[in-house]
Amino acid sequence: MLEFDLQENGLRKLNSALHDQKENSNQTVWKITNPKGSHAIAVGIDAPIEVNIEGSTGYYCGGMNKLANINVKGSVGPGVAENMMSGKVVIDGDASQYAGATGHGGLLVIKGNASSRCGISMKGINIVVHGNIGHMSAFMAQSGTLVVCGDAGDALGDSLYEAKLFVRGNVKSLGADCEKKEMRPEHLELLEQLLSEAECDAKPEEFTRYGSARKLYNFNIDNSDAY
């Protein structure tokens, strides 16, 4: 295992060392100490390595991640795992706004709460939040799955495309074109798998599914007066 003190060695040195790791890297486990809320920690990794961050981070932690498993033993600032491609990012604490924004793939697990705009414009990423999420989450979400074990804030799934949303608690309000959907066996199966990967003991049948009513993103000539 490699130990890296961020305050002593600096962010550029860390990210450049992480970028040097390739698929067959021997340095498979990294421990990052003293993150102290710094921004852009472990951004742009492209190797199947494990990175353990011992404390809370600032903006964009684990952004653009590919293949790596990143664990944060604390809370994260805005934009965690933004545009993630694959791999897994696990946050022990809370996440600030736009967690997992525009993510294409991989799994983001937030064991605490996520604030506003969680999963905004997600494009294939799976996100599991053990706690609650804030307003405008999954705004314009295109594909992937957002699982929320607690409650969701205002305007969930506004202008939603084809992302699947599952909420166990209350939804304060649904956004435009987002509606409640029936839970079919394939959805329970998907939930079971994601909850297990996210180490969450919630039961799939406790969730409600929400999805796009598909009225907004298909042009309807009857609505032309509104423009």
Binding site: G37, S56, Y59, S75, G77, P78, Q97, S116, G134, H135
Partner: protein, 298 residues
């Protein structure tokens, strides 16, 4: 961007360290705004006495002759505490209403940064490190304080465009964000007779709160109505004589993080601002909800 910080002490033993902790917090936010910086500190007050902080471009000459002049015109004992371009002026409470006029008759160029009994505001153009050093903020003690480092978007980089802005007596405001209806609101407030000095958006926000309170609203009510009347982005941190409050606009895209322990309540634009506070590892850390007014009082 802008960076804002605040520290409210529950534990009296930290009071001597307030300026030091607050300066560190503000310096850690320097890259959120390099244009100007300011700090408001709530320090000791004397019963029956009022406190003002004033600023002059010719501090040396102005502040030498000022105490005698004021004491003659206000007919009371005047104490001053000169601090670089600023000076704290302490007068009898009964002379408070005559202070602005007396100061203007001495030299209309001198600006009043704060009015009240315990509040002191220090702000200038420059980085937080330079500004906190020139005013010796780390040596100051107090019960609570707020600070701001500015990245100017709506108006010029000047001393008067820097935050905190004094609202009512012993009240002040720092702001991260930008108000988009500040021009129309400024016109409206000026029609109501409110004095607004600069083209700065936050000054309008501060003047709005003052005006609401002059018309009978409590600070809490004024903040609630700001959610209706102010258009734009804001995370506000407000200082009052006995505490501080936080409010974010309903969209809440301007960041905010808070921490609470048995010893203090702290606010920062980012977690980085909080990392050197005592026992932060065991603090309760959370993000304040949008469109919700929070308050802590001694």
């Amino acid at each position: 961007m802008c960076g804002i910080v605040g520290l409210f002490l529950k534990d009296n033993s930290l009071e001597a360290n307030l300026g030091n902790l607050l300066s560190d917090m503000l310096i850690s936010m320097s890259d959120r705004g390099p244009d100007s910086a300011g700090i408001a500190i709530y320090a000791d007050k004397e019963t029956g006495r009022s406190k003002f902080t004033i600023q002059s471009e010719n501090a040396k000459t102005d502040f030498e002759a000022l105490p005698n002049y004021l004491s003659k015109h206000l007919n009371c004992k005047v104490e001053t505490k000169v601090n670089d371009t600023h000076s704290v002026v302490i007068i009898d409470e009964s002379a408070t209403s005559k202070f602005s006029e007396a100061l203007a008759s001495f030299n209309p160029e001198i600006r009043i940064m704060s009015r009240g009994s315990s509040l002191e505001i220090y702000k200038e153009v420059g980085l937080p490190k330079q500004v906190t050093q020139r005013f010796n903020i780390p040596q100051m003690s107090g019960r609570h304080g707020i600070g701001h480092t500015r990245m100017a978007t709506e108006s010029a980089v000047t001393t008067m465009g820097a935050h905190p802005f004094n609202t009512g007596l012993d009240q002040c405001l720092v702001h991260n964000g930008s108000l988009s209806n500040h021009n129309s609101l400024r016109r409206r407030l000026r029609r109501e007779g409110v004095h607004i000095e600069t083209e700065n958006d936050t000054e309008v926000g501060a003047a709005y709160l003052t005006w609401k309170m002059q018309n009978g609203a409590t600070l809490g009510e004024a903040l609630e109505s700001s959610l209706e009347d102010l258009d734009g982005f804001f995370t506000f941190l407000v200082g009052t004589e006995d505490g501080f409050g936080v409010v974010r606009d309903p969209i809440a895209c301007k960041p905010a993080v808070m921490a609470e322990t048995d010893q203090y309540v702290a606010f920062g634009s980012e977690y980085r601002a909080l990392v050197n506070l005592p026992e932060i590892e065991s603090a309760h850390v959370w993000e304040p909800e949008p469109a919700t007014v929070y308050f802590w009082k001694h």
